[in-house]
Symmetry: D2
């Protein structure tokens, strides 16, 4: 059905690379941020959330990233450790960079926004000297998140990590996670996203993210063609997300599966994608059928969007199973 | 005793210029920031605190500054309005700048530190086109804070405001407020601090701040010589603060006054200088004797350091009077 | 012997992309530049020289590049036109960039150096919007020079041109032309050089340039392994130059050829590589045996290093043939 | 008539500070630069030209500046030495900066233009540590040129030099020399020009330069008001140049003198202002009447614009005297 070769001779399951930051979630919700008076601090950043989510599900997870040499950086490191992630791949910034911040505003379940602090952030200072070939050869899978490509030297560090992964038979997941504000322009973004995607085994993104990547192509907004493009390169699975309309996954073998979303009481929309990715990856790494992995991902997403945080809300296998028993798909 | 000519034909008392930002004060104190889980949001920034403090004391205050075009910027604007400051001198950034942040850590009353976010901040984007000659000619006094000199175009905006103030007989207070992290180096800092100080009527700073400004001089750490240097230019009063040892004020007329500090239950040290400045300025603008104004400033400082915030904690005249009746100086 | 498919249905033979600049060659030589009093102006830049050389040999050449909107930029454009290059691929900078300069110093034939002006240069402002898919599909071959990868947006423009070339069956030559001063560091350089090289048909560089590209590999300074690495990707021919010791070319088919250099009266060493590349490419595009193309390249190089300029000195086929009849290899 | 106190106890007459660069003058003139094929190299930069001119007239001149650590920088240093300037105030850049270049184009005597290379130039890297109080206290006069104010750290170095000059009774000449391309905007320029001008004894500039400086004033284009503005500060003499209409000089004592220009065969217009300044300063330092110094300056300007270079063409006293005998004013 799909062919992903997770090597059994590895000591880790999944290593994430890229953005590690702090979420400051408004304690008062259903109002504009101007009227909130306090914020609660969580570890955030898409690949960090996914790695934490994977660890919560029982995968042996690690992370390659750079943290600021201050209280925020130490908090992140400590939190990862406490959540059973291997932190030996973390580096400490020595340039005076800060930790990226994401202030969340929850005006209503439908109207959520993020105020980002991304100037001079430590995660984008990750450089090639921080990427250990030895570390990467010890893992079954590598998770790349697109935000890490937004600037040098982080971009080059990711290209090097990808090279090492290919060299040592590590399965590579690419979660597009495109955030316009950290990039110079869409053209630059598309160039580097495509260069990475060419070598990845599983590509996960929204329809809009794939559109951005296809700006130099003659075809447009066609899920099937999108998937076929990447099967000409290294991809085995391409997942295209359509928000509330669910997602569709294609395999190189020629199959496709659709998946809906679950009814739930939504607090905010943040974290849905990260929860989906961590649980979907968990399913694939356990050799599940594609549709079972997708359903597991959707359930995980539903759980996270009903809670206040992203990282801290990542569910266990038991929670997801319980949810699946009691919920129904839309 | 001292000669400051506050023109009676003005509609405002005090206009501040420069840094406007957000303080995020740890809700849990007497512990390292790594262990705090939430932060409360206040308006901050030294000249903003002083202007708010002055308004709390009943002065007609205004502010010339630039705020970010986001929730943080709108919160600041709203807070100033609610606190009776004139906000017609505020400009809105259109470059995508953010609001500066100050995360405070209160390990113990003696061990406080601040984690600053000062990259790409709106307050340093204030430019000459944002400074209205008409606005400045309507005030009795202008308050300049040194942090606004740290970068272009804010630095030039301050030089222009100072020129307008001199042209229209506005008394100028210069609160040194030197923060090393926003400057390239100490040499650059000293050059611009001195250029500003040459034209100011009242200069207020710590011994360390004056030391920085005197790095190209042949004399060192001598309060008397420091004061004399500025009396050769435009200064009428020079206040040099020595932390817990109190402060000393010199007048051009040749007098000097010492002032101690009050015993109080200290929560944190932040905000002491801003409270002192606002209340000291209030005293001078009411024509008080120097030592009475200094004592009023010290009392105000003592009140603020016993509370959680800086801006929000700024006392009224009644609070200070009550404090003075019940407290004793060290 | 080697397999390069130059499509016959194309209106151009060779299109260069990248650096276009001005050489200012000392009129007085065999002395330090401090003692030269005047300089003669020539068009320069490695890929420009190669494209001009190819045109001199009769190939239909074009160029994708960006020139400054000033006298220097107009001079370059005019010179290319006069030398029968198609200039419809040139763009005009509108950011106030300047033309890169290379002041040459000829202390002795063995001691030549270049003083570069590479700040804010127009050629590195080439962006993806300046790269026409239509233009690239009209050429048999594309020549990429490594210096164009040194900065954004030129780097992304080259990646896009390469993608279009692959899509339309255009043979891609990669002349490494590594110049340390335009790069941030060697790690960054290697990452992008390798990403380009993976997709090129013919790679030409010095041993030192390949060493730089192999810094993340376990093997070192082994011509054979270097060539094999690239044959695993798209390369058909890899040429490794060893200065005065001549060069060695490998083909994917498993053959290798060595070529020496010709005795000549050397004025300066500049331009040897560009002359070699243009004539070697000419040979390959005519379907010559590898060793004949290499000898033709060596002869061309010998002619150029005996003259004052690079671009202007590029020889015709007749000149090279005459040279070959009268010279002998070392 | 005017009061400038040149202290007799000094070992140097005039020290320039600021821009030192290279002029590359087209060898072929009366044509656009696109058609010139070679350039001759000269030392250039307004304050360098003035200091060289002053030395040519017999003044003991020195220079505070920074040169690049390459052949261009060494050429400048050597040329100054050979022209009897004291070079002990020169510093060597260690950041990889280049020497500024000015390519001159002489389309006709009336149509001259300059193509500037001012990115990353060594002269703007001069910093406060390169300014010696001891050096400045040894000179009678300091010449400040406005271009040195265009960027940090050169700007701060000039402010420090000015402070030392005031402290030690050094007469300060300010040649405005405003070049828009090195500045961010006109507002910034005016702020710093005014801060410098406030403390200078003699201010020399074109009407357009004074207009730029007066953008925050209520008056406009009025030579008399311009002069009066500066007499309220430290100025003794203000010279306003009106191109071919000659110039007007005002003194604090209330006098003004007009001066025309001489008929001459013009090759190019470059260098006229620098020649004027050096000879005018020479006259003032010899205690001449204002009109005699102005006429001497005009004659010097006429000589330089009839020759190919600026620095190299600076005349001796004898040349100017000969010129004055044989020429007539327009």
């Amino acid at each position: 059905m799909y062919h992903l070769d997770f090597r059994s001779d590895r000591s880790m399951d999944l290593v994430g690379i890229g953005r590690l930051c702090i979420d400051l979630n408004a304690d008062q919700f259903n109002r504009p941020m101007e009227e909130t008076t306090s914020f609660t601090k969580y570890v955030g950043g898409s690949p960090a959330n996914i790695a934490i989510g994977a660890a919560r599900l029982g995968l042996k997870s690690g992370f390659i990233g750079k943290v600021s040499d201050d209280q925020m950086g130490r908090f992140i490191q400590q939190y990862l450790k406490e959540n059973n992630l291997d932190v030996s791949g973390l580096s400490l910034d020595d340039t005076g960079a800060v930790t990226g911040l994401a202030f969340t505003e929850i005006k209503s379940p439908e109207e959520c926004s993020i105020l980002m602090y991304r100037d001079n952030v430590a995660d984008l200072k990750l450089d090639t000297s921080n990427v250990s070939e030895e570390y990467i050869r010890q893992t079954k899978a590598l998770l790349i998140s697109g935000t890490a490509l937004a600037a040098s030297p982080s971009r080059e560090a990711v290209f090097l990590a990808l090279d090492y992964a290919k060299k040592h038979g590590v399965v590579v997941f690419f979660d597009l996670d495109y955030r316009a504000y950290t990039w110079n322009n869409e053209q630059e973004t598309a160039i580097y996203y495509n260069l990475i995607a060419e070598k990845c085994d599983v590509i996960i993104g929204t329809r809009e993210e794939f559109d951005m990547m296809e700006q130099f192509e003659s075809f447009r907004q066609d899920d099937h063609q999108t998937a076929q493009k990447w099967f000409h390169y290294a991809a085995e699975i391409v997942v295209i997300k359509h928000g509330e309309a669910g997602s569709i996954a294609y395999t190189k073998e020629g199959k496709s599966e659709r998946s809906g979303i679950f009814k739930t009481k939504v607090l905010k929309t943040f974290g849905a994608g990260d929860a989906y990715a961590s649980s979907f990856i968990y399913g694939l790494m356990n050799g599940w059928e594609l549709n079972r992995a997708m359903e597991f991902g959707s359930a995980s997403a539903s759980i996270v969007i009903s809670k206040h945080s992203c990282s801290e809300a990542m569910p266990t296998v038991e929670e997801i199973q319980t949810f699946l028993k009691t919920s129904r798909k839309e």
